[in-house]
Subunit: 262 residues, 2 copies
């Protein structure tokens, strides 16, 4: 249900007080967490708990090739993992308590790459990419593990790439929501140039926030780095969720002006 502005009366001692009630939209934003290669849904739990403080419904899941589907580690492809992300998105956005126009996706490394690809297939309002990995498009159906064995991969990640050079960047160039790109200062897996390429590709985003996690490595292996990332994400997300909820409330006020004379 959308935000509602209601004029009402409160009975007290035989009198009736004029009153106004503003009820926020009852459907909540949805937040999808996509873990990195070799990770699991557990990584997102701390962030999910904090995002619940923003009244977001949070979904975390294990990509195939991980946890119970670890047997697929050598064979799973990007295409299949993207299908995983799409299935998780569809479950989340289809929940009756979730507002399908307020879906955020938070991806890390390979999960951030998949998250960028997701935006070409589903509406995403808020896109958070932490240390987003990138891979050449071809061969698209190769197993994911083979991509990391490509001797040209480090050079590819250090090259200046335009949106048309890569599917994930092309998806970013068509993205119109709010974007966050977070870089770890001492990342030895995803170099600074890859971040710059994503940032440049996000030129059509409604807003782009970039952030450097000082002293952090790719995995954010210290509690301090984990906490800094959580804080940063919640600050960014909190402002966007508030803005979106406020916008819905504003529409309720506008609606009243149209329907009640005077």
């Amino acid at each position: 249900m959308e935000a509602r502005l209601k004029t009402l009366e409160i009975a007290v001692e035989g009198d009736r007080l004029g009153a106004t009630m503003l009820t926020p939209a009852t459907r909540m934003p949805g937040l999808l967490f996509v873990h990195g290669w070799g990770g699991s849904q557990q990584q997102a739990m701390q962030r999910a708990r904090k995002a619940a403080g923003l009244s977001c419904v949070c979904l975390t899941f294990d990509l195939r090739g991980h946890e119970r589907h670890a047997r697929m580690r050598q064979t799973v492809t990007r295409a299949r993992n993207l299908a995983d992300v799409l299935a998780a998105y569809d479950l989340l956005a289809g929940l009756p308590e979730v507002d399908p126009e307020a879906i955020g996706v938070v991806g890390f490394s390979y999960g951030a790459y998949l998250s960028a690809l997701l935006t070409a297939h589903r509406p995403v309002q808020w896109l958070a990419l932490r240390s987003p990995a990138i891979y050449p498009d071809a061969p698209w159906e190769a197993p994911k593990v083979a991509l990391n064995c490509d001797p040209g991969l480090p050079a590819y990640r250090n090259a200046v790439l335009a949106p048309d050079d890569n599917r994930a960047l092309r998806a970013c160039a068509a993205f119109h929501g709010d974007a966050l790109v977070v870089q770890a200062e001492h990342d030895t897996i995803v170099p600074p140039q890859t971040h710059r390429n994503y940032e440049a590709a996000l030129a059509n985003a409604h807003s782009l926030t970039t952030h450097l996690l000082a002293g952090a490595d790719h995995a954010l292996s210290t509690p301090a780095a984990q906490a800094a990332w959580s804080r940063m994400l919640m600050k960014w997300l909190g402002a966007l969720v508030r803005r979106e909820r406020e916008q819905l409330a504003r529409e309720a006020f506008r609606e009243r002006r149209h329907t009640i004379p005077g």
Copy 2:
């Protein structure tokens, strides 16, 4: 409904991904706005709209002696206006979509005085007092307008008062929620000492935040002062609402640890 943590499976291409969904508490915090003497519910609309951004259900209303009950201006008493506030509180806290354990009250001047009194009668989690007025307890049943004609009132407001000297301060001393006291720098109605008395009385609050609105008068008659007050209130309230929602999510995690072995 409380926050829920649910383990589930997502079907994709014949496989089933392990997933976890965290759904925040669906009942929302409630926020009651109590206007000052000579004011109306309209004063709170800007703040209510912003509070809807925090997913709070907001209720504003006209005290008797104002608006449609303006004929009672000369006769209405504190007791009757407190009854107004209690009736509004009960309506808000009784809504099925409102969490009765997460009620905030925002009062201005005479409305802040009434808000402090309210806490002696109903559970309040968050208490925001802007330029809180104060009056001697006796004669309790005198019309409100007579209180302002008391030639001793300015001296009373400039005196150091202990909680036992005044009903509103006694209520504050018994308040265990989070409190905010906001003072306007150039307030000629409620002097600094009255603010100090409220702050000292709030010694048992879970937290006490005090704030000075630089350059502002009692009525916050400039848009800049209005905006500064809105910002301040939303920052304070936003952090508390987040903390409370997070706490509910934390309980959902704790619950799971108790019910699922391993």
